[in-house]
């Protein structure tokens, strides 16, 4: 297992309608991040608590999933080109009941 700093573990917050919705549910707030592909749940928990030290939060659960690469083809004038979407790893972090962070501020 490699040594990753908190900033290396947490790449960026995922800001989409769905992520915002999860983060705004009461009383338990869940925050979604893009994380390092090799990071494990323990590292993610530690990184979140480290990055949001000021809010002094406790991570009670981390769910992770990998969004796999996907082939994309598209026609141009010179013929078809194909490639892949970037695979990435997503972590949904659940904080202790009632705890919140300002996660726009990440990265």
């Amino acid at each position: 297992m490699t040594d990753l700093s908190a900033h290396e573990v947490i790449v960026r917050p995922v800001i989409t309608e769905k992520a915002i919705d999860l983060s705004n549910r009461e009383p338990i707030h869940r925050y979604t991040f893009q994380v390092h592909p090799d990071a494990n749940k323990m590292q993610i928990k530690a990184a979140v608590e480290e990055l949001y030290k000021k809010e002094n939060v406790t991570v009670v659960a981390v769910n992770v999933l990998t969004t796999h690469r996907k082939e994309k083809r598209r026609g141009t004038r010179r013929g078809r080109i194909s490639g892949y979407t970037t695979p990435w790893r997503k972590a949904i972090v659940t904080l202790a009941s009632g705890q919140k962070i300002e996660f726009f501020e990440g990265v």
């Binding site: 995922v14 309608e17 726009f104």
Partner: protein
């Protein structure tokens, strides 16, 4: 006029919410369906303060409009708005500066001591019209057995030269002239008088000093002239036959009577118009008001436009005109200004009199005028849609109202002075009636063509 408006914080926060919805709908933020982005994201995409700005802008506009309605203010121009405080959680404070119609202090506009002046139609005037009719119906009989006289219709061909060289514009193959009209250079026609058909003459003549072509002005020239046609104007005799030829008239007295009648009607109409103009002048002279510059400026622009149109109708470009008269646009504006002021004054005074007198124009009259305009400007879609718009209708309404006010003043004077002959509105009697009911309709129509030669 300055309006100070303060709105409670709740109004502002409501406006902010609405602004968020509006902006979200038209801003695409990745990760969100249109209209679903939260405020924080909008601010990241559009910039800090964008939401608040949008909210303030809308709120100020609404509040300004409400304030106008509430205080019954009719603005004349775009308001200058100065936002003094716009912070969320605090009251929104702004002021709007706007020009309004000035208060007009009316003086007297009823107790004038002038009367309508009706031009008397005498036999002499009728004779003059009859003579004009004869002149228009004159025949041109060829003459061979005598020399040209003043008043004859001739056709000449001529060649003009200087030092033996023909000059530009100095020649013509066939130039029709009426001798004595002096349409050519002074003295030219005198040489033609006394020669016979087919005669050729040569003479020297000097162009006048004020001749339009500077190269020729004051210079001598030599002309060769040939008389190519000689005709005499023969006026029809003033008899019953002539009268019958002019239309559906039994004899000469009938024609004279008709001419007399028309002239009298025109005289009455003119008298009414002049009388109305004098009343307006009187009312304006007695009223006091402060003229807002903005109104006068607008009127100057309007007049400038009218001027441009009339120039272009004569085929003159404005630039060329300004150059020829060595004026600048500012000079022109300065010239127009006094008249613009007068027009604005008339407008303001009449509107105020209309208010004082309670003159109103109902919707049907406006609608009727819209219909009329639609027919009159049938080809001009833009103008028609203007007339049908709210603004166009208001314009028509206020115009009708001003006309109605003047008509009312004239009619009231008539009622107060029953001994004075009636002055009917001419548009009510287009055919034969001389006595027309003086119903208060509008009179902004075109006047009937003046008499001289209509029944032909």
């Amino acid at each position: 006029m300055k309006l100070d408006v303060e709105l409670p914080p709740e109004r502002l926060s409501r406006a902010v919410d609405q602004a968020v919805q509006r902006l979200a709908r038209r801003t695409r933020v990745p990760g969100f369906r249109p209209g679903k982005a939260p405020r924080a994201m909008l601010e990241r995409v559009l910039g800090q303060g964008a939401v608040l700005d949008e909210a303030v802008e809308h709120l100020v506009e609404d509040a300004y409009r409400d304030a106008l309605v509430e205080k019954l203010i009719l603005p004349l121009n775009q308001a200058k708005i100065d936002v003094q405080q716009a912070e969320e959680g605090k009251a929104l404070v702004f002021s709007a500066t706007v020009a309004v119609r000035p208060d007009v202090k009316l003086g007297d506009y009823r107790d004038f001591n002038f009367k309508p002046e009706i031009e008397q139609i005498t036999d002499v005037t009728v004779d003059k019209v009859i003579d004009e009719l004869r002149d228009q119906n004159a025949t041109l009989a060829p003459v061979e057995d005598r020399a040209a006289r003043k008043g004859d219709y001739v056709v000449v061909g001529y060649t003009g030269s200087r030092d033996g060289v023909p000059f530009e514009g100095g020649s013509s193959e066939r130039m029709p002239l009426i001798l004595g009209d002096e349409r050519l250079i002074p003295g030219f026609e005198d040489h033609v008088v006394g020669i016979r058909l087919g005669d050729r003459i040569e003479f020297d003549i000097t162009f006048p000093d004020d001749y339009a072509d500077a190269d020729l002005a004051g210079k001598p020239a030599h002309f060769q002239v040939e008389l190519k046609e000689l005709r005499e104007k023969i006026l029809p005799d003033t008899d019953d036959e002539f009268a019958r030829g002019m239309g559906d008239y039994a004899d000469l007295p009938a024609l004279r009577a008709e001419v007399q009648q028309r002239l009298e009607r025109n005289a009455l109409d003119r008298a009414r118009h002049q009388f109305a103009d004098r009343i307006i002048e009187y009312a304006v002279a007695n009223a006091t008001m402060e003229l807002p510059d903005i109104l006068v400026d607008q009127e100057v622009e309007v007049m400038h436009d009218e001027f441009r149109v009339s120039l272009s109708r004569q085929g003159i470009a404005q630039d060329a005109y300004l150059k020829a008269t060595s004026q600048t646009e500012e000079d022109l504006h300065k010239d127009l200004r006094p008249r613009a002021e007068q027009r604005v004054k008339v407008l303001l005074v009449l509107s105020t009199v209309a208010e004082t007198e309670g003159v109103n124009v109902d919707d049907e009259a406006v609608q009727a005028e819209v219909e009329r305009s639609r027919q009159r400007y049938a080809g001009d879609a833009k103008l028609i849609s203007y007339f049908e718009s709210e603004r166009g209708r208001n314009f028509i309404r206020s115009t009708l109202r001003r006309t109605a006010v003047v008509e009312r003043l004239v009619d009231d004077w008539m009622t107060a002075h029953p001994e004075h002959p009636r002055l009917p509105h001419i548009e009510d009697d287009t055919t034969t009636a001389i006595e027309a009911p003086s119903a208060g309709s509008e009179s902004s129509e075109k006047k009937e063509p003046v008499e001289s030669g209509s029944p032909a």
